[in-house]
């Protein structure tokens, strides 16, 4: 009996062992799981089903509704095409795409923020080249395409221009005894204005940190002011320079100063950036950094006379201190696994037709990223001022040059840590440098591609 039981246990163990070995074999045979596979594009540019992962609402309130209406118009024009719009969230935009890309399924058209968030999937083979899908004459009209160039090719379509203007509340300025029509132009002036506002019982700067974005935004507006070129910015990610160099990290000291002097709203750490903008619009703070789209929404809400806009006060002495922080923001690209690449490209090109550009601006107030959009369409003086800032040559959004991993694990949280007092500027700079090092070792292929791209190849 005992021997039978023992044999049965042996057989049971053997079966279990066989199952484990089979599964282990399966697991190890799968290291290079996703080999590239070729898909045939549908020849007909006006037929097929497209899935479009869309993000823009946070930058440009009203953009999702406009895109839904545009799709309806397009489907009415071309009966054999159907487009499913899937709005995406800011927090999960990159993660959701990375997850779906691993299974080579999901959207035909996806959106990521310009430069590194677009180029990283490009280098990973997840994006289809626009070459051959969009006519060069069409692409020549698109603005800021240089932000998404790698290997001499444009990989994504810009939809709108987005600046990060510094804005102030004129009523609160007046209340504090400041000139409501003049924003601070230098850092010393900015600190003096903040002190005066605080003394008058007004929150000088309204901002939110919960989503961490401000940590990187501050780097984009203030942190680049000691640099002379974009190449210098790239150097810190290729390992030629260190983030701990004050040239790169002194902005953390400015952030620390603002925090220690109590110039931010008290709930900065428990609200996100969108909530902060809502609070600003309600007069709960005198100054903030925002987007053109939000200014446009405030103009529509009748707040135009209360708001002043300009570039970020000048702090640094580098050449980049002269440029406004602006970008094409989110860019649309066609996924490498899409079975309807030509249809997707045709739709994206259609979005840039002059009537759509005008309709987009009318609905959202955000400037279309296209030469064919005439400045004459802009009637509002505040928006004219923003358009002039965005049209300056040399503008850049430094955050876009950071690899997504460094952005989300370095610039954002450690900037926030300085504001909340959980880190010091020196420690935060060292931590950001570590996050760069981590990215270089964890993503060796991306690092190699970045270096190649940074060298201009």
């Amino acid at each position: 009996m005992l021997s039978r039981f023992s044999t049965s246990r042996k057989v049971g163990k053997l079966s279990f062992l066989i199952a484990i070995v089979s599964i282990t074999g399966l697991a190890f045979s799968n290291t290079q799981t996703f080999a590239s596979s070729a898909f045939k594009s549908a020849a007909d540019p006006y037929s097929g089903k497209l899935v479009y992962w869309f993000w823009a609402e946070s930058d440009v309130p009203g953009s999702t509704a406009w895109m839904q209406a545009a799709i309806k118009r397009y489907e009415a024009l071309h009966k054999n095409i159907s487009i499913e719009l899937v709005p995406q969230g800011s927090d999960t935009l990159q993660g959701a795409f990375e997850t779906t890309a691993q299974s080579k399924s999901g959207p035909d058209i996806a959106m990521q923020w310009a430069t590194l968030p677009v180029l990283t999937p490009v280098w990973r083979g997840q994006v289809a080249s626009l070459k051959g899908l969009v006519k060069p004459s069409e692409m020549a009209n698109w603005l800021n395409t240089s932000e998404n160039v790698s290997g001499g090719e444009v990989w994504a379509m810009p939809l709108y221009l987005l600046g990060e203007p510094f804005v102030w509340n004129k009523t609160l300025f007046k209340k504090a005894g400041l000139d409501p029509n003049k924003g601070p132009t230098t850092w010393a002036e900015f600190l003096a204005f903040s002190a005066k506002l605080k003394a008058a019982g007004i929150t000088p700067i309204q901002m939110g940190l919960k989503d961490g974005a401000f940590g990187a935004w501050f780097q984009a507006t203030v942190g680049t002011q000691n640099l002379d070129s974009v190449q210098e910015l790239k150097d810190v990610y290729t390992g030629k320079a260190k983030f701990t160099d004050p040239k790169y990290s002194s902005y953390l000291t400015q952030l620390d100063t603002l925090s220690k002097k109590g110039y931010f709203n008290k709930d900065i750490a428990s609200i996100d950036i969108n909530q902060a903008w809502q609070n600003f619009a309600q007069g709960k703070g005198a100054m903030t950094w925002t987007t053109d789209g939000n200014v446009a929404a405030w103009v529509k809400a009748g707040l135009e006379k209360q708001i002043g806009v300009q570039m970020t006060p000048k702090l640094g002495t580098g050449k980049l201190a002269n440029f406004h922080t602006a970008t094409q923001s989110i860019s649309a690209f066609i996924t490498s696994w899409s079975k309807n690449k030509q249809a997707a490209a045709t739709f994206l090109s259609w979005l840039h037709q002059p009537e759509n550009l005008a309709s987009w601006y009318e609905a959202t107030g955000a400037f279309p990223a296209d030469k064919r959009f005439s400045a004459a369409n802009i009637k509002n003086p505040l928006m004219k001022k923003l358009f002039a800032l965005n049209s300056q040559p040399g503008q850049l959004w430094a955050e876009n040059y950071a690899p997504p991993q460094v952005d989300s694990n370095g610039l954002r949280p450690f900037g926030a840590a300085v504001v909340t007092g959980t880190s010091t500027p020196a420690k935060a700079a060292a931590d950001i440098q570590n996050s760069i090092k981590q990215w270089q070792t964890q993503q060796p292929a991306d690092f190699k591609s970045y270096k190649l791209w940074a060298s201009g190849k």
Binding site: L14, S15, N30, F414, V419, T420, T422
Partner: protein
């Protein structure tokens, strides 16, 4: 004759042996699909995680790095914060079980409407973690509902920055974890209480035991197994099931101060595609959970031996 008898005995013996072996093998054959399925859903992912932990890069483009991920994690300040926070959250286990026990005993004493109260206590458990997190993020903001109420009650000193203060945020998450998991513990303990033999209680009362003595020396010892089970469950929750609360409440901030291991793993594995680094972190988490499960099983075994 003898020979043929002998050979017949041998054949019969062989058949019996064969039948016996069949009988032994057959159950194992029937078990194979179940073992295989278990392997597919449990062992395969586990082996994959361990395998990926030795690579850098992303799925489809992996490069072997040996133990570098494990080494780097031990020098990663954010990962160390995440471990510390998970360990801090362990405090929720005794607090949650003690609270649940107190509530269950009160309900067991036959409070009027105890069934309704039990349902009310259970409701937070069935609300999805993301909904709970989002609601509490508005409630606990510096200028949120809780602080507004405290300020109106002239208790401004208690109106803290529950989510924005780096030293407090992880405890806010812990509080939320207790609140949302309490219902399950109350239900489990109430069910255990209702199944206790009444004779023992009655004997204790006859022997002159006070209410407190009855609970302390009669009822609670009989709930030992349930309490231990809930304690281990809460420990596992604190280690590996806090993602929805942290993500919706603080997103690991401010400045990583409320980072926990499962959010860390999600960030690297899903959001950033650093699957090797995330897998190594997952192996550490598995090891940590394993330690607690091992300790629990040792305690159980010692008790059974006693």
């Amino acid at each position: 004759m003898i020979e043929s008898q002998g050979s017949a005995v041998t054949v019969r013996g062989k058949n019996r042996l064969r039948n016996g072996r069949y009988r032994e093998i057959w159950p194992a054959v029937f078990l194979l699909p179940a073992i295989f399925m278990l392997g597919v859903v449990f062992v395969f992912p586990l082996i994959s995680v361990v395998k990926f932990s030795f690579y850098a890069g992303r799925v489809g483009d992996l490069a072997p790095v040996g133990f570098a991920n494990y080494y780097n994690l031990l020098h990663d300040s954010v990962f160390l914060i995440a471990i510390k926070n998970n360990l801090k959250l362990l405090i929720t286990a005794p607090v949650s079980v003690a609270l649940a026990l107190t509530i269950s005993l009160i309900l067991y004493e036959g409070v009027k409407g105890w069934r309704t109260y039990r349902i009310i206590v259970f409701i937070p458990y069935i609300i999805p973690g993301t909904v709970v997190g989002l609601s509490f993020s508005y409630l606990l903001q510096q200028s949120g509902i809780l602080n507004t109420v405290l300020n109106r009650l002239h208790l401004s000193k208690l109106a803290l920055d529950w989510l924005g203060n780096g030293a407090l945020s992880i405890y806010s998450v812990g509080g939320l974890l207790i609140w949302s998991q309490l219902g399950f513990s109350v239900i489990a303990l109430t069910a255990a209480l209702l199944s206790l033999p009444q004779e023992v209680n009655e004997a204790a009362i006859v022997d002159g035991a006070s209410k407190w003595q009855k609970q302390r020396y009669v009822i609670i010892p009989q709930l030992k197994n349930t309490i231990q089970f809930l304690f281990v469950l809460q420990i596992i929750n604190a280690l590996a099931w806090v993602f929805p609360y942290v993500f919706t409440l603080t997103r690991g901030g401010p400045g990583n101060s409320s980072m926990v291991m499962d959010l860390f793993i999600w960030q690297y594995g899903f959001s950033l595609g650093s699957v090797g680094y995330a897998s190594a972190a997952a192996v550490y988490l598995l090891g940590l959970s394993g330690i607690f499960i091992y300790l629990y099983s040792r305690i159980r075994r010692n008790q059974e031996e006693l």
